[in-house]
Symmetry: C2
Subunit: 343 residues, 2 copies
DNA sequence: TCTTTAAATATAAACGCTTACATTTTAATG
DNA sequence: CATTAAAATGTAAGCGTTTATATTTAAAGA
């Protein structure tokens, strides 16, 4: 077997507890013995066994990252890798490990979270999505297990720590941008309605219309998954309307890609025939034709902040529930155009 | 504290060992007591503590997934999430957990791997890249730690289990496709040269040229990271040549995106002015304009197979080194065009 | 020099599980 | 009905740490 604390102890002529204490760099050990023990560790090639340690201290120094269940489409959206990168950065700094979910469907995911929690696999969890009546979130609050959500909780908002953008305001801003450009027939294409983020962005869209005195048109509202195929479907639906929109507020860059593609099939050009605003500012959004006017929600920062909050929560037991709002910024590119100014 | 095996034992009036055996569904326990114990577990809400279990059995039922160090650019390429999805699928089926690397630079990553290995955090490792003189891979063989690589090892090829495509052949095929279309001025833009995959694809490209009797032109070969910005740089370099190429073999869809974008800035259209073949068949590749003719390397399957191989290796100690070649398929779309047939 | 106190280290009991081995119970055999 | 074998369960020793408590050693005070 591998070399243990006892081997080191023997070699350095001390008790195992002493070795343990020099690992923890306890001030109760004289610098002399510390040196001696460290030498022995080096010579033997000692490395602590985390399982044993975790068992003794009842923690795992690991955090679980839960992505939406529909792994099929979820992981395909660069949003997730990008938050993950943020989370990973602070995890690395603080020497936490990252456990990621693998569940394919809702049920599997739920089982997996239970395994993480009950099995003491992780000390805390980061939820990378937020939807209504989510069994997993309910479970976590029920169990009083430390977690933070990236996005806004659909309930218990004040008692759950979360990091989010001000999506209402962001959505209002882009809609206003479209209105400023003279558009009044503005469609909204968002993700599934059970996602809190969709709700918020729709709300912002509505507020902007209302403020501008533009009547709300139900036909202009479409909800679907975040994916390219759904984007296509959405376009089809809108373009066959009597009064097709001249602009659209989309809530995801990937979706926008699909929409623009579909538009072309219908013989329409963006932004000449239709203006588009988007969300996320994925690295793709500046590479598409046209480059997208999109809301930079600072995905990486969302990840950073989420992880930070969680770890704070883990370090001091009764850290209060926090809310951190990551600022957004609209990237004005070329997917929107002033109405009636066909040059 | 949480409910332990002893609590269950007491409640069910059996010895802890019996409970343990029930958990393992050992045939040595009568169905009667099994039932009784299971009932007790349910009533008490028992869940095994993995740390304790791992310590006892000296394993962790977890596999480590190592992505390239430059997390900045790496995770941005949907290739990685997609393999991860494959890996996750089989991990889930076999009840393994997934540990992912978080290291930002080479050194950090190396440290992390050591922590995984020495700390008994994972039972095996999947390397999601393969480059020359990789300290991590060397470390793993040195330690005789179970691992598989997705990609082809740069050395010890016969003693390391890996899953890969036949990249030489694939690259040859796409190059030939270009040649068939009448192109002779064909450039190659690949990732950094220390990546084995780049080597292979370049080799295929060269072979195709040679077979067709087309002289090798060093100016046509460009190496860089897999990213969009590097793609742009590459284009610039090629177009300012005396005899700029009429076609290019690119080794990554993301790069292709950048290239096409850049081409436009130079006033060139793909495929009218220049033909492009690509690799990976990311979901984007059919959404771009033009949709890319690209090699479908079946990323998801690479992940599936990689995980399968690793787990086989973990289950039976002396599983022989394997090589599994995932078949590729060229997706013919609209980014290539017959030379001189300007319609 | 003898206490008293502080500093340094050792002892041993957890942590929650698995498993080799021992023991008891049950069934089978002559 | 005793004997033996097989089946079912129990006992206890790990797995490699941490940590409360005890012990030893060294320094300080009287």
């Amino acid at each position: 077997m591998a070399v243990t604390i006892k081997d080191v102890a023997k070699k350095a002529n001390v008790a195992p507890s002493t070795v343990s204490r020099v690992i923890a760099d306890s001030p109760r050990i004289s610098t002399d013995t510390k040196k001696r023990v460290r030498k022995a560790m080096k010579e033997l090639g000692y490395h602590p066994n985390v399982n044993a340690r975790n068992l003794a201290v009842r923690s795992s120094k690991a955090i679980g990252v839960i992505m939406p269940s529909s792994a099929e489409t979820a992981l395909q959206n660069p949003f997730f890798p990008e938050v993950l990168r943020g989370v990973g950065t602070v995890a690395h700094e603080t020497e936490y490990s990252l456990y990621v979910s693998t569940g394919g469907n809702d049920q599997q995911l739920y089982e997996e979270v239970k395994r993480m929690v009950y099995g003491h696999r992780v000390d805390g969890i980061i939820l990378l999505y937020s939807r209504m009546n989510d069994a997993i979130m309910d479970f976590l609050v029920e169990e009083k297990f430390p977690f933070v959500v990236v996005g806004k909780p659909y309930e218990n908002e004040s008692s759950i720590t979360y990091v989010d953008n001000d999506n209402v305001s962001a959505s209002k801003d882009v809609t206003n941008h479209l209105i400023d450009f003279g558009h009044t027939a503005i469609a909204f294409i968002g993700g599934t309605t059970d996602l809190v983020v969709t709700k918020d962005r729709e709300l912002g869209y509505e507020q902007a219309l209302k403020d501008a005195g533009i009547p709300y048109n139900e036909d202009y509202i479409i909800h679907d998954e975040f994916s390219r195929s759904s984007g296509k479907k959405a376009v089809e639906q809108l373009l066959t309307l009597n009064h097709p929109p001249t602009a659209m507020v989309l809530t995801d860059d990937m979706m926008s890609l699909g929409v623009i593609n579909m538009l072309e099939e219908f013989g329409l050009e963006c932004p000449d025939d239709i203006s588009i605003t988007s969300f996320n500012n994925l690295y793709l959004s500046e590479i598409t034709r046209p480059p997208l006017t999109t809301v930079d929600i600072q995905i990486y920062k969302l990840g950073i902040q989420g992880a930070k909050c969680l770890i704070e929560q883990l370090q001091s037991k009764d850290e209060p529930a926090k809310r951190v709002i990551v600022p957004y910024a609209i990237k004005h590119r070329s997917s929107t155009k002033r109405l009636h100014s066909n040059d």
